[in-house]
Structures are given as structure tokens and as C-alpha cells.
């Protein structure tokens, strides 16, 4: 069974009490997420990432379409019992301490009272807030609140975890800790759904991603599917190119980027690399170093967005 499956999930917000302007936020999104994977939903601001998660958790109501989480249709109480959620810009009652915040949310989750305190402490330890257990949350910094939010999302041992920009405002060391935490959760079998625009991070931990733009899914695939399609080589030369060699390279009609003593060539197929090397060698230019370039997810993302919007 899929951890999460949506079918043509659509949301148009009605905004303005009187005008009822129609704001399309999500258009027929169909995604399927396997149990135990880390799935990243990427997209520029306003793409509809948050809306997608809110639909799943019945914080907003769908305009049309349907979805199931672990087989339960939207709106069922059981569904929410299996979910953990870290919203973006989350806030906590200012008068509660970190410990009591977790206990409070644990209660809302219907957890037995006797285990709550222990659970809260264990989680605060996990997210690195052990020494802050008794401190009121209004004194917390942004990154600390984010860690608390993560602990809160884990209070009910969710089977599927929805994280909306989990590393927002967290320092680099903290980010690494959060990534490690997510990987260890994955190892325990938790499915993780991540909203982010920090592509380098997504690249590091996600198994699969979907790219969302203006409410439409424009690509889905594993990270490697999306990032290693390009056969680009960065070739460092021992001396600058001569005019003659450059003309011969241009005749290959391959896209080549020229730098002072290096060039980047994008091939259609691998054997073309030999052709390039032959041209260079026969022109008396030595090759010092050669590396295959991977498109980073970021390059890919920007490329897609250009194609979509331009």
C-alpha cells in the first residue's frame, strides 16, 4: 500500500469575503509515495507546496480530487493519528515551556498521559533542546523553535511525517543534525514528505522529488534521474586554444563553453568525447584534467523553471 496517494487533487481558494475571487493553487495533482521513502516537493514561492500538505491534513478542503494516506481517505481521524506535521511559520502558546508544549500536543494526539513526559524529554534530547525543557517558548530563537516543531511533529511516532521547510532558520550544524535525524527515521521505516526550496538539501536526502510550478506537477523522478541526464565534460587544457583548433571544435556543432584554459562540452553521446580529444591533441594542445559534470538539482530546477515560465 502507498503511504500517500493523490488523484487529481485540486484546490482553488476563494478569497475576499464579498468578491470571492478564485485563486487556483493546485491543479489536478496526482502523486504516489511509497512507504519508507523520503519524498521532496519542490517549487518556487506560491507554487502550492504548502497547500498540498494542508489538503492532506484537512486544514483546507479540496475543490475536487481525492487522496488517501495509508489507505485512509481524507478527513478521517485515523489518518491524522498516523501523521506528524511541521507547518511553516508555526507558533506555540507563549506561556508554555518546551516540555509542556510537547506534552500539550501529545495530549491533543490522544496519547496516554503516563508516557507523555518521558516521551517529551526523549524528543527534546533528540533535537538538541535538552537544556531548554523548562524554558518558555517565547524566549526561543527561530532555529530553536524549528527544532521544537520537529519534536512536536514526532510526538506521536508518526508513520508519515510532513515537513514544511524543516531547516528554515536553522544553522548549518543544526541542518546536518536534522538531516541525520530524518535519515535515521527513514531507517526506522518512517515515510517523510518534505517541502523545500533548499535544493542542495533535498538532493542530499530525498529518494524522489516532484517539481511543482503554479499548481502543476512538472516533473517527478528520483534524484539521479533528474540530475545525471547531461553528458557534460569539463576539460582543462595545458595551453590556451589556438584559433585553428577553435574553428575545428566549432565545426562539431556541439555546445561548447570556452574559458581561458578550459572548456565545457556537452555531448549527445559518449563516443563524441574521443572526437573532441582528437581535435585538441592534433592541434598540439595537452589535456591536464577532465571531469564529468553532473547537473545539480539546482541547475535542473532553474532550467525547468526557465522553460516553464519563459
Amino acid at each position: 500500500m502507498e503511504a500517500l496517494q493523490t488523484l487529481d487533487l485540486t484546490k482553488h481558494y476563494r478569497s475576499g469575503s464579498f468578491t470571492k475571487k478564485n485563486i487556483p493553487a493546485l491543479e489536478k495533482v496526482s502523486l504516489s509515495i511509497e512507504q519508507g521513502e523520503i519524498f521532496g516537493l519542490l517549487g518556487p514561492n506560491g507554487a502550492g507546496k504548502t497547500t498540498f500538505v494542508k489538503l492532506i491534513l484537512s486544514i483546507v478542503h479540496p475543490t475536487s480530487g481525492s487522496a488517501t494516506v495509508l489507505g485512509y481517505p481524507l478527513g478521517q481521524r485515523k489518518l491524522k493519528e498516523y501523521c506528524g506535521y511541521l507547518p511553516e511559520n508555526h507558533r506555540y502558546p507563549a506561556f508554555l515551556s518546551a516540555e509542556n508544549t510537547l506534552i500539550f500536543f501529545g495530549r491533543l494526539n490522544g496519547l496516554p498521559e503516563s508516557t507523555l513526559k518521558e516521551k517529551a524529554h526523549a524528543l527534546l534530547e533528540t533535537v538538541g533542546l535538552k537544556d531548554w525543557a523548562k524554558v518558555k517558548t517565547k524566549k526561543f530563537s527561530k532555529g530553536m523553535l524549528q527544532r521544537l516543531g520537529l519534536a512536536q511533529a514526532l510526538i506521536n511516532n508518526p508513520k508519515i511525517l510532513f515537513l514544511d521547510e524543516p531547516t528554515d532558520g536553522v544553522d548549518p550544524v543544526g541542518r546536518k543534525e536534522i538531516r541525520d535525524l530524518l535519515l535515521s527515521l527513514k531507517a526506522q521505516g518512517t515515510t517523510i514528505f518534505l517541502n523545500s526550496h533548499l535544493l542542495s538539501e533535498v538532493e542530499m536526502i530525498c529518494d524522489r522529488v516532484a517539481i511543482l510550478n503554479k499548481g502543476n506537477v512538472v516533473r517527478t523522478g528520483t534524484i539521479s534521474e533528474l540530475t545525471t541526464q547531461k553528458l557534460a565534460y569539463h576539460i582543462h587544457l595545458s595551453s590556451p586554444l589556438t584559433k585553428e583548433v577553435r574553428e575545428r571544435l566549432d565545426q562539431t556543432i556541439l555546445p561548447i563553453e570556452y574559458h581561458e584554459t578550459s572548456l565545457v562540452v556537452t555531448l549527445h553521446e559518449k563516443p563524441q568525447l574521443n572526437l573532441i580529444i582528437d581535435i585538441l591533441r592534433s592541434g598540439g594542445i595537452g589535456i591536464e584534467d577532465m571531469t564529468q559534470q553532473k547537473t545539480s538539482l539546482e541547475d535542473y530546477f532553474i532550467q525547468i523553471m526557465k522553460g516553464e515560465n519563459g
Partner: protein, 274 residues
């Protein structure tokens, strides 16, 4: 949610203020009321004797209790409004509402826990004041005035009805200050409607308009009438001879609009996107 709301209400500055005032009054009474040494039947307030029945022929103790009661409901309505009106809007704040709604509770439970948590917070404050005053009068003066104690229940009931108005206003406006303002206007309207025969009717001599006022009166919780009647439970002073006797009617009439408003709130809340 319920427990948390009660805690939140009790921590509110406005209600702490009420709590402090109530404590001071109870303390003053406790210190002030006593028996003169020679006559255990008489009661004194700071040394000066209070006759049980004054020269004008009314019960001084009851008079005092009615004053205390009126004072208390005045404060609890004002402070309760300030203390409670922000609760629903604060639950709906961006970032907070997402957390609450993502929990395995349905929206009706969430909203009602919030509304009744608020009422419970107020009720605890009222309980403190009424039981405190009642005990002081009982222990120090030997007057166990059950009417005074039971009048508390009517005040709490009236506050429940009032909170249905506060809840729906908070839900729609999503703002503490606007809903305080509107609930305040509601208390004035309620008072105006109660006295419509002497006031609003005269503004415009039109049957349709007058029936409209009547309808409005029966469609909203009759806060003012309920509070007035809660006072009458304590007793009646001779100078209030022309005031009608205690009646259950406003409590009964208010029951339906209250349920309706809570129902409407739940319906509205369940349909909202956040």
C-alpha cells in the same frame, strides 16, 4: 484543549485582576464582619452594628449581598469579555491553527473545548468569589444565604450564553479587539432590547419595526434579562417593589439562540480553509 484553555484563561491578566479584586473584597469582609462581644445575635461591620432589618424595613444583609452580586457580575462581564474574546482568534492565528487542525480531533471538538474552556475559567473565578463571600457571611455572621450561592449558577449560565456570541464573533472577525468591541456592542443591544418598550419603541412608531425588535430580542441570548434575574434570586428589597419577580423565562428563551449560535459557529468553522 479544554484543560489548556482553562489554564490559559486563568493566566490572563484581566482575570488575575478580577481574582485580586475578589480576594480583597473577601478579605475586607472577613476582617470587617463580626459579632459584638456582648450580643452574639447582632452583626457588626467594622464595629458598627448592622441591624438585620433596617428602619426602612429591608434586610440589610440581603442588600449588601445584592450589591456584591451586582458588582461581581459587572466585573465578570467586562473582564470576562476581555479575557475570553481573544481565545478563539488566538487559536486561529497563522501557524497555530495548522498545528491544531492537524491533530486527530474534529473541528467541532476543538472549538467547543475552546469555548467551554473559557467558560470554565470564568466559572472558577466566579466560584471563588461567590463561595468566598458566602463562607465569610456564614462563618462570621452566621448567615448562610443559599440564594446568594445559587445565584452564581445563573450568572455562569448567562456567561455561557454570552460566550456563544463571543465565540462566533471571534471566529468570523479573527481578531480579539474587534470581537471585544462587537461583544460590547452586543451587551448594549441586549440591554436596549430588554428595555425596548421604554426606549427603542419610541424612536419610531412603526409596528414592523417594533416586531423586528421583538424578534431580535428572542433570537439573541437575553443577557441583560438573565443577569437581572440572577440578582433577584438573592432577595427583593422594598425599594425595588415595582421590579418583577424572578422568572426562568429569559434563561429558557436564551437556551435556543445559544445552541443556535454554537451550532452556527461549528458549521462555519468546519467549512473554513486555513
Amino acid at each position: 484543549m479544554f484543560r489548556y484553555t482553562v489554564e490559559e484563561v486563568l493566566r490572563r491578566g484581566t482575570l488575575l485582576f478580577y481574582f485580586i479584586i475578589a480576594s480583597i473584597i473577601i478579605l475586607i469582609l472577613a476582617l470587617g464582619i463580626g459579632h459584638p462581644v456582648n450580643d452574639p445575635d447582632a452583626i457588626t461591620l467594622f464595629g458598627s452594628p448592622i441591624p438585620r432589618v433596617s428602619e426602612q424595613g429591608f434586610n440589610m444583609i440581603e442588600f449588601l449581598l445584592i450589591q456584591l452580586h451586582s458588582l461581581s457580575i459587572f466585573w465578570i462581564i467586562i473582564l470576562g469579555m476581555f479575557g475570553v474574546a481573544g481565545l478563539v482568534p488566538s487559536m486561529l492565528e497563522k501557524g497555530m491553527v495548522d498545528l491544531f487542525l492537524s491533530k486527530p480531533l474534529n473541528r467541532a471538538e476543538l472549538l467547543m473545548a475552546r469555548a467551554f474552556g473559557a467558560v470554565t475559567g470564568i466559572a472558577l473565578n466566579l466560584l471563588y468569589f461567590f463561595v468566598g463571600v458566602w463562607l465569610v457571611f456564614g462563618l462570621k455572621a452566621g448567615v448562610w444565604h443559599w440564594g446568594f450561592l445559587s445565584s452564581m449558577l445563573y450568572v455562569i449560565y448567562a456567561f455561557i450564553c454570552f460566550s456563544s456570541v463571543i465565540t462566533i464573533l471571534g471566529l468570523i472577525t479573527r481578531s480579539a479587539s474587534i470581537s471585544i468591541m462587537l461583544s460590547f456592542i452586543y451587551t448594549i443591544i441586549s440591554w436596549g432590547l430588554e428595555l425596548r418598550e421604554h426606549g427603542l419603541y419610541r424612536l419610531w412608531d412603526n409596528v414592523v419595526y417594533q416586531r423586528f425588535l421583538d424578534t431580535l430580542y428572542y433570537l439573541t441570548p437575553q443577557l441583560n434579562a438573565m443577569l437581572d434575574n440572577s440578582t433577584r434570586v438573592i432577595g427583593k428589597l422594598p425599594m425595588m417593589m415595582n421590579v418583577p419577580d424572578f422568572t426562568f423565562m429569559p434563561f429558557l428563551y436564551s437556551f435556543f439562540p445559544t445552541c443556535f449560535l454554537f451550532g452556527l459557529s461549528i458549521w462555519y468553522f468546519s467549512r473554513q480553509d486555513f
